[in-house]
């Protein structure tokens, strides 16, 4: 009888050593310091598909469209900067932007209204061409994305954006996504190419 009574205690003791669920990870590496947060893929139709890792909540990623690469802010040669869903144009260097509704990259239509984003970054986030409703924007259609309140997700609007660079070249962009293949937000993806003014 004594033996029988000790068995349950041992069983409880063994059972108490449960499974630890702490995540093991999917084998991903943190980006190395200095590693570019911008990647390009040839789309095949003459455009590039670019993904910007703008997942950091505070730091910005600066893209020089002329050189098609990430640059330091100090260089001043960037056209667009990305932070989470925020995108601003480099108004201080003479970059101007515009958008029209559409799904195809082509020549700049007459109705496109180019303007420079404010130099002040906070103001640019609030009033810039890529951002929420601009009082000067006749369509009042808001940011480059639509926000779904039910699913808390962002989806690019069907628009073509035009950017005149600090070198005077003209580029057209169409936003494709805000999520990477795993569904992580902050990965802004767009296809783009240089167009004839």
């Amino acid at each position: 009888m004594f033996r029988i009574s000790t068995l349950p205690l041992i069983a409880l003791l063994l059972a108490a050593c449960g499974t630890d669920l702490e995540p093991k990870g999917n084998g991903q590496k943190e980006p190395e310091p200095g590693e570019s947060r911008i990647t390009h893929v040839e789309t095949g139709d003459g455009t590039l598909t670019t993904t910007v890792d703008a997942t950091h909540a505070e730091s910005w990623v600066f893209l020089d469209l002329d050189a098609a690469r990430e640059v330091d802010e100090a260089a001043g040669t960037w056209e667009l900067a990305f932070q989470r869903m925020h995108i601003i144009g480099n108004g201080a260097s003479g970059v101007v932007t515009a958008w029209v509704e559409g799904k195809e990259i082509g020549a700049v239509p007459d109705e496109a209204q180019f303007r420079a984003d404010p130099v002040d970054r906070d103001q640019a986030q609030a009033e810039g061409v890529f951002q929420t409703t601009d009082p000067d924007d006749p369509t009042g259609a808001g940011a480059w994305y639509a926000y779904n309140l039910g699913t808390h997700s962002l989806k690019p609007r069907e628009r073509v954006y035009f950017v005149k660079s600090d070198e005077g070249r003209l580029f057209a962009l169409i936003f494709l996504d805000y999520y990477d293949d795993a569904g992580t937000s902050g990965y802004t993806k767009f296809k783009w190419s240089e167009v004839v003014p």
């Binding site: 009888m1 205690l9 409880l12 449960g18 990870g25 808390h152």
Partner: protein, 685 residues
């Protein structure tokens, strides 16, 4: 650094506690004769109550103090039934100050219900609320999970998730009976007992010196379950050990491709009970149990993120309860109880680590109580003192931890004014002093009266309260994958209720029993989730807890049990519920206005074949969206289960059946398992 989910010192201290009560040596040495030993508590194994005697159609007498007449085997067994929940001491069901719904072991076995939630789902006045992700909770009198106190053998259990104790954790295998008291019971139990109390009584008394059983069950959801228990006893001691393991697959409803509607489960439970009669006046009871429940599901986040979610809860529980009989009708019972809960929640993003989340929460619950019970003339005086200490460690809490200390005193006087008419009034009062919100007084007054033998009338009025939970006070939980944030509100006041009921039990013959009641609860400071900010791009939706001014639940319940023949039992019940948020002038979400239950049991005493069909019809339910306040009504549904069993002789039986026979369920309002067919074998010794 990894650490074992349950710390060794906790396990060892618990084992030390239980070892004090383990009767191993005592069992071996036991020599006492039955005459020297007081009768064990008669509340258990009620199958014995209806195992004897022949039929009589006259309604049995309710007179107090007389030995209970033997219930005929074909009758509705009510007289011998002993309940404890409505008074904290054992009394006959008719002598209980409040109406106590009792589900006996015999009924549990006849139902074939696998777990406590299955069993309660078809009880009148008890509404099981199923959720494919976090399990099954319940409502009483239109009040939610957090307003219902769930006890095991009279002790609180930890692990409320969003107010809910998952009742599907607890299998019926080790349950002797379940008692349900509807309406405020804070005058005896303090916090949480606003809508009522569910008390799960575990099995204790053995039928034979050595007994045991093994059961294997499999179903069409790729689930299987293996359970076993063994009991050893003699005149003075008892040792019972039970355990089981369950595995089921997840399921999907609607057209979801990846997202699951219900979790896969992987459960393990072990329990141990030891009793020993140290002398003619002192009995020692100790229990220990371990439960591990792992639920796995696939969730969708914002965008296209997919998460494999695993939620693992382990609960270790010990109690020690010496009971001292000081004389006829005079006893003193001490209880020391400790529970430790460890919960791990992992949300593992597929193809990425970016949104992975891992949180570990632990909860300690200490309870000690002493209850003194004495009969003084026509007064049965029950009084007691309790101390509760609770601690929660969680990364979800603002400071990472919460602590609560709550001593309490209570007294109840069951005063029989007229023995013949069973006229009695029962005033009760409890004072709680909570470290968070101070003193809380909970009075209650109950009365019962039997003008004729076949009719018992009851009335009661009482106050109830619920202290805000740690989560409601202190949580700071971000869920960036879905895009919301929940914030605690340290300014919350305790919820309070004042309510009562009027009821009758009519039993014109031993073949029929009718119960009817009306109830009303007025609630103040009801805590609900409020949306502070709908959120936007880059800004999560923010929700917090607030006290709303007032709410009201009221309604009527009725049930009838009819035994036209001794082998056939027919049950039917109906509940009407009117549950309003009076401040907002809206319906309280999820409560059906109408609900009906039914049951048909075919069970010959010596029969080789038994059958049970039972179910519930749940009417239209109103829902109000937390996100945008929109209103919709969920369609009625019928949940029905069938179980048949065939005795093969040699203590072997086969059983089979189906759950959710009408294949009800939808991904938004009713995430329940689809129709499931099961079969199994049961062997006992």
């Amino acid at each position: 650094m990894h650490h074992a989910p349950l710390h060794l010192p906790r396990v060892l201290s618990g084992i030390l506690l239980i070892a004090l009560a383990t009767p191993a040596a005592a069992v071996a040495e036991a020599t006492a004769t039955p005459a020297e030993v007081p009768a064990p508590p008669p509340s258990d194994e009620l199958e014995s109550a209806d195992a004897a005697a022949t039929g009589s159609s006259a309604p049995p007498s309710r007179r107090r103090g007389q030995p209970p007449p033997e219930a005929p085997s074909g009758s509705i067994e009510v007289l011998d039934e002993i309940v404890v929940t409505g008074s904290r001491v054992e009394v006959r069901r008719d002598d209980a100050p409040v109406d106590t719904l009792l589900i006996t072991r015999r009924e549990i076995e006849a139902s074939g219900a696998r777990d406590v939630s299955d069993l309660l789902a078809t009880q009148p006045g008890v509404e099981i609320v199923r959720d494919g992700i976090s399990g099954a909770g319940l409502r009483l009198q239109g009040l939610e999970d957090e307003h219902v106190l769930v006890l095991i053998d009279g002790q609180r259990i930890p692990g409320r998730v969003r107010g809910k104790i998952d009742l599907s954790r607890y299998t019926t295998d080790n349950v002797s009976s379940i008692e349900i008291v509807r309406g405020a019971a804070s005058s005896l139990y303090g916090s949480d007992a606003m809508g009522g109390v569910i008390n799960i009584i575990t099995r204790r008394r053995a039928q034979k010196p050595v007994e045991g059983s093994v059961q294997l069950r499999a179903d069409t959801l790729s689930g299987y379950e293996l359970r076993a228990n063994v009991g050893v006893s003699n005149e003075t001691s008892l040792l019972r050990l039970g355990g089981g393991t369950l595995q089921t697959e997840s399921f999907r409803l609607g057209e979801a491709a990846e997202e699951t509607s219900g979790s896969a489960r992987n459960d393990l439970d072990l329990d141990l009970r030891a009793e020993h009669q140290l002398s003619s006046s002192l009995r020692l009871v100790g229990t220990a149990s371990f439960i591990a429940v792992e639920r796995s599901s696939v969730d969708l986040g914002a965008g296209t993120a997919i998460f494999d979610r695993t939620d693992r809860t382990e609960i270790l529980d010990f109690s020690l309860a010496p009971e001292l009989r000081l004389g006829e009708g005079h006893s003193l019972r001490f209880t020391a109880h400790y529970s430790f809960l460890d919960n791990q929640l992992l949300q593992d993003q597929r193809r990425s680590d970016a949104l992975d989340q891992y949180q570990r929460t632990s909860e300690d619950l200490w309870e000690t109580s002493v209850i003194h019970d004495v009969q003084l003339g026509s007064h049965r005086l029950t009084s007691g003192a309790e101390i509760l200490y609770e601690r929660l460690d969680s990364p979800r809490l603002d400071d990472g931890e919460g602590e609560r200390f709550r001593p309490a005193l209570f007294v109840q006087d069951d005063w029989v004014l007229a023995e013949e008419q069973l006229l009695a009034v029962t005033p009760g009062l409890r004072l709680d002093h909570d470290s968070d919100f101070g003193n809380q007084l909970s009075p209650k007054l109950s009365a019962r009266y039997a003008p004729i033998d076949s009719l018992l009338l009851r009335a009661n009025y009482g106050w109830g309260f619920r202290a805000a939970s740690f989560q409601e006070l202190l949580i700071a939980f971000d869920n960036p994958s879905v895009g919301y944030r929940v914030e605690g509100n340290p300014e919350l006041e305790p919820e309070s209720s004042r309510g009562g009921s009027l009821g009758l039990t009519f039993q014109p013959s031993s073949a029929i029993r009718l119960d009817m009641s009306v109830f009303r609860n007025d609630l103040e400071n009801l805590i609900t989730v409020d949306t502070l900010d709908l959120g936007g791009p880059g800004r999560p939706m923010r929700m917090s807890y607030v006290n709303v001014d007032r709410a009201l639940t009221q309604g009527a319940e009725g049930s009838i049990r009819y035994k036209p023949w001794r082998i056939l039992t027919l049950d039917a019940g109906y509940t009407y519920t009117h549950a309003r948020n009076v401040t907002e002038e809206t319906w309280l979400s999820g409560r059906p206005w109408h609900r009906a239950t039914f049951g048909v049991t075919w069970r010959p005493d010596e029969g080789a074949f038994t059958a049970n069909l039972r179910g519930e019809w749940v009417g239209t339910r109103p829902f109000i969206s937390l996100e945008d306040g929109t209103y919709h009504e969920a369609a009625p549904y019928t949940y029905a289960s069938l179980r048949v069993s065939q005795d093969l002789g040699n203590n072997l039986s086969l059983f089979a059946g189906g759950e959710n026979l009408l294949n009800e369920g939808d991904p938004r309002d009713l995430t329940i398992s689809p129709r499931t067919i099961f079969a199994g074998i049961h062997a006992k010794y």
